[in-house]
Amino acid sequence: MRDAIVINLKDNVATAVRDLNKDTIVKVEVSGKVLEIKLRDQIKLGHKFAIKRIRKGEYIIKYGEPIGRALRDIEIGEHVHIHNVGVLDLPEA
């Protein structure tokens, strides 16, 4: 059983596929390479954590595409969700 999945190699977040505990080291595979990441938060199944340092204002990338913008600096292993991610506008065309 994996800990988390990175869908696209451009992604800066991984999604947990089981409940993961704070302060544990989890393994994440990105195009054949295994990253070891120490979790700074409790990450529930389906929730995301940062696998790269994301600075305030930068995009959160999942599926290789922007899904939101960092409201503050986010460290590797931190929970990425509505508390630190701002929404992107929908087109009004």
Binding site: I5, I7, V17, K48, Y63, E65, G68, V87
Partner: protein, 388 residues
Amino acid sequence: MSDGSFLGYVREDGSVGTRNYVLVIPSVGCSSEVAARIASNVNGAVSLYFNSLYSCIEAPKGNVERAKTVLSGLAQNPNVASVLVVGLGCEGLPADELADDIAKSGKHVEAVVIQKEGGTINTIRRGTAIVSRMVEDASKLKRESVGVENLSVAVECGGSDTTSGLAANPATGVAVDKIINAGGTVIFSEVTELVGAEKLLAKRAVNSEVSDKIIRVIKATREVTKKMGKETMAKGNVEGGLTTVQEKALGFIYKTGSAPIQDVLDYGEKPKKKGLFLMNTPGQDIESITGMVAGGRSQVVLFTTGRGNAIGFPIAPVIKICGNPRTVELMKDNIDVNVATIIEGKETIKEAGERLFNYILEVASGKFVSAERFGFREIAITNVYQYV
């Protein structure tokens, strides 16, 4: 069959069926039961059953036109060898008119009308004789090896959960890319699920006209659902870990792979070329599949699910693809392709997608999926006007 070929029924017009049904179509909901009785009398025949097919003489023109487009499209599907239309006699879509429209495609079609035959017993007797002869002819046809460019596939998802966007949809995207690269056609739909993916889908359009259409059609759906008080992001989505509507939509559209989008089709509209198309349908699975199979002349349906689903379709195999290990175990009867291997760490997305592609070719060549083994054949047409 990893060379990208399958064994199909080559029709006179060059199209290729993955199945070889004689189809019995009611031209109005009122003849559904008689159509079903006729089909059940003959092995190899299948009927469409509608309680809601409102092509009555009193129905709005838009609904009657929609019924004609969809029923004619289903009749022209390469999975269908020949057709019997069963009318009541007073409907707004007369059996002969529908049969004439089907005949234009070159498909062999006949019609019986309950009010003219003199009741249901006579209609069933005459219809059974016609369908029996049709099956005799159809059964002579043998499967031949053909290329994937002959395949049109409809892609749907239902009963989604967290695993859908992580396993089943990405794996399906790999298989979809392989079908498109081989020269085939793929239709996706459910515009309600695309809110948030407007820009990304628009970028994948073949030209600016299609790009504008994509944005327009998603915005129109967004406004309608907003009026209905339906939230695009439900509370449960956020609790489950989805942060934004973009993330939700991307998980959904990952099953469409990465090919350019050729055009936006109306419900039941036939694409004018090959490649990837978006069809404007509601999110309701059965209605959405009906529109895609009718317009896309699709011979196979791919259905991704997280929580599991059992539905089939009368004239096309519906392949259930599931990435949730628990559902795969719990609903063994209904899941055809297990891609929970991605989450379990046994396969990559690409490996699972390639395995799925090979499975699609096996099904196209005649292997029965779960919904076919059980004889499940759900169908429904989205009315243009809902309240009449």
